[in-house]
Symmetry: C2
Subunit: 248 residues, 2 copies
């Protein structure tokens, strides 16, 4: 684990890290309350396709969780995204295509992404201001494609916000197998006019989740039109679920 | 309008009223902040089949809206419910059957219920501590069967929580006609394992609502298992929607 670029603003400390991994380093960001000590809940945030760990909503959610709840939050660049792509290949519009190709052609991508996140949890929980507290996961669309298998595989994750995805696409069988293994409380988000994942496939995915404690929020509009009220809902959901698992 | 039985507790004033109507008086309850003066949002609460204006969740929601937001709230006994049924006919278990029969046999019931609510709005807005503020409606199941047509018909209602209902049942055609006339912000609640209104019919009803600003929350469990977090969500929804319409 290599640390660099520390910035502090409005009570939030942001540290860039690189997790050393066989296939190449995984760049990420950790946000914690300034001056914090001791264990606290950690929320992992997986960005969507064509985004990065620096997407506006990623940073906004992370800073809310730190400032409103005293949590730690972390994001990494997904496969073939952000700093994991050479500058020369950073062509606008190509990121989505690049991911789609990889999704279709490389089933190992999911396992690698799960290993990335598990390595991140291992390392971040060694930090004095993170510690071995409860872990939450938040990721929509590609964030769910790669994050649902993490939630299914790692019992340290005790609350998850998933969605903008359905039982469809190249890794459908993998998701069909993993969804019943998700057992933690889930908030599932979907868009009523989602042009990428038809409504019925989203319902199927929600129904397939193994969690007893789950709820679905549907909003009007296309794939990218998730309203800000769902960031509020995410925040409340984590507060409730991670505080409960902290006490229980 | 006849007033009786005033009780005050924990900052909430509760007054029983009877609205004079041709078919017979409509008994109701009005909750307001003690010592309140001047106009404020009014939320109408329609109970479900076999319940009454005194159902626990009705009173709980009303008191929250009064105490947390300074609103007024009102509930009435629905047709063939509560005080509108003679004591001799108050047989446990029969209320639901009685409503189902009426729903199947008497299409005028909907219009009468709409007229009841409109009369309640007319009269309550003459009270000094209610006034002509924005109006919200909250009603699930029978509360939606009878309340959706009110929301469709009366533009004074500027926010509605509806649900536990689908495009099915004896008044399906009426609801099909009215749903597109609902234009205000809506929070629609449904239960994933609803044994009375199949999931698909609830999706159809949500889709049919004319509102641009609408969202659907689905929770796990049968018809009666709406979790208390949706009372929280209702409260936030009204606060947002009725405060916005108050300012705009």
């Amino acid at each position: 684990m290599h640390w660099s670029h520390e910035v502090v603003s409005d009570g939030v400390r942001e540290r860039r890290f690189e997790l050393a991994r066989g296939p190449g380093p995984v760049p990420g960001l950790l946000w914690t309350p300034t001056g914090a000590e001791g264990p606290r809940p950690l929320v992992l945030i997986g960005h969507g396709a064509s985004g990065s760990k620096r997407d506006d909503y990623v940073v906004a959610l992370a800073r809310r969780l730190v400032r409103h709840h005293g949590y730690a939050a972390a994001a990494i660049d997904g496969p073939v995204h952000g700093e994991r792509v050479p500058d020369a290949e950073q062509v606008p519009g190509l990121a989505f295509l690049r991911f789609s190709q990889r999704w279709a052609m490389d089933p190992a991508m999911t396992d690698e992404a799960v290993a990335d996140w598990r390595g991140v949890i291992d390392q971040l929980q060694c930090e004095g201001d993170v510690g071995a507290g409860p872990v939450g996961f938040w990721g929509l669309s590609m964030g769910t494609i790669l994050g649902l298998p993490l939630v299914a595989a790692d019992r340290r994750v005790t609350a998850a916000v998933l969605g903008l995805m359905g039982l469809t696409g190249p890794t459908r069988e993998r998701i069909v197998a993993d969804a019943p293994q998700v057992r933690c409380p889930v908030l599932f988000l979907m868009q009523w006019e989602d042009e990428l994942f038809p409504r019925e496939t989203a319902f199927e995915l929600f129904a397939a989740l193994g969690s007893v404690d789950k709820r679905l929020h549907a909003n009007v509009g296309r794939h990218g039109a998730v309203p800000v009220e769902e960031l509020d809902a995410s925040e409340r959901f984590f507060h409730h679920a991670l505080s409960a698992s902290r006490e229980g």
